[in-house]
Symmetry: C2
Subunit: 248 residues, 2 copies
DNA sequence: CACTTCTAAGATACTAACATATCAGTCGCC
DNA sequence: GGCGACTGATATGTTAGTATCTTAGAAGTG
């Protein structure tokens, strides 16, 4: 319940601290889509001036997490389901190729061991109902795959514009508590890699990345106020309505 | 020879103008890799204050075109060949899938016509030795493909982190004047699309995107001062040496 | 001469104040 | 009552100046 203006630590760069704090709380759903943010307000709460806040806003806008309307206001982005789908598509295009690469090259025992270790980390996160820890080890699992193929930067490209995707994943995990399924999918992918069974590895990866969209149909109704609508008037509606903050 | 502080127009957003001006001149090679930029200096030349310059710097850093060293200085990024290679890899993963999609779905005559029109635009650019115009229509050609498949955002993701790739392409075109080859490749891809010949379309796409790396071997020697070195001391060397500006 | 310390210039990081645009609500006119 | 102009509050956009950090080079020391 520590709200988004914690400021317990600010060693390097105030701008960076603001950025990290806001980013975490948006992905956490402590700051809900559509919520209005104000440079002045946040600067005041954090006892800093507006400029670092403003710069953090700009960075977050670049990741699609904030929408800055010039001279009007800044809002936490609504969930753009079309964008999330295209992130998934892009990611699948790249990651399936990386997975094939990994399997077709000589199996890298060190990487396989590291990935197994991450699965154990995930198990622990499940036991502790630690959504954040689970999400971190999920990312680390996939990242390992890219690193093993010398595609670290390709991962960081994907990671960079996956912010909205991650926000949906967080919601999905919180609501369906399907941690175990994700873990099973990881196990299946890894096991197929060990067997050098490319077909099955790709099948499981596809299922793994697609699942979030399958679930999104269920989420769509329940969380429709947080989802961006097309075809309606773009400048009003849900984005402007005050939304209960349930956390501050 | 109009240098990078032109300021002929500044209708909306000073920050945006600074951003666009700097971005153009970096991709143009009017601002060379390794060159030092100063907030104060640019602000002074443009008769504006430092903040908009600073914000433009941050955006350009996000695209990998600038390197901001806190409290030290801001430099035009050196060419990071490994990053460019991974951009190419990522792009090929996505674009080959999009191309397959385009061919396997019913052929979209409107799109094919539009792409043919773009080829004519390219021909004109070649006739006029207009590198910028050529590059623009090159991008437009590929973008059309993504739009036709409903993957506009996927294109914008790729486009966003392709800045360094584009800079290398500009150099390659200026030095090898192989406009015609690029045009031929586009024609081959389009013609394969018309014949719904997926294999050949993909082969030509692969050749098209790979070419830049083949050429980069030749460029590596001639332009080595502009290329990022790994394994050396990261905090000194070429990046700091004053480099002839040949334009301002 | 080799090495350390000091210093001043100049870079980004940040602050505080001002400029400009937007919008909801109100006033006044019909 | 209905409708358009005005206005105050407040948002971001921009400016100018201050603070802090880094570094090159001078000065001092063995």
């Amino acid at each position: 319940m520590l709200s988004f203006f914690d400021m317990s630590e600010l060693k390097d760069g105030v701008t960076r601290q603001v950025y990290l704090t806001l980013r975490r709380d948006i992905l956490n759903w402590r700051l809900l889509p559509g919520r209005r943010l104000s440079e002045k307000d946040i600067a005041g709460r954090m006892n800093i001036s507006k400029t670092p806040v403003r710069e953090a806003f700009i960075k977050l806008q670049g990741e699609g997490l904030l929408e800055i309307r010039p001279q009007r206001g800044t809002y936490v982005s609504l969930m753009d389901m079309e964008q999330i789908e295209e992130v998934r598509f892009t990611r699948y295009c790249v990651e399936s190729t990386v997975l094939s690469l990994f399997i077709s090259s000589p199996p890298d025992e060190k990487t396989l061991t590291a990935m197994e270790a991450l699965l154990e980390t995930q198990e622990q996160a499940i036991a502790g109902r630690d959504v954040d820890g689970f999400v971190d080890s999920d990312d680390a699992f996939h990242r390992e795959l890219f690193l093993a193929c010398g595609k670290a930067r390709a991962w960081s490209f994907i990671d960079h514009f996956s912010a909205q995707y991650k926000r949906l994943r967080y919601l999905s995990l919180q609501n369906y508590l399907d941690f175990g399924n994700v873990l099973d999918e990881h196990r299946a992918i890894l096991s197929a890699c060990r067997r050098r069974d490319s077909d099955n590895a790709l099948r499981w990866l596809s299922r793994h990345l697609n699942k979030i969209l399958g679930e999104s149909e269920h989420l769509r109704e329940k969380f429709s106020v947080y989802i961006k609508k097309y075809g309606e008037i773009q400048d009003s509606g849900a984005a402007h309505t005050p939304i209960p903050t349930h956390g501050a």
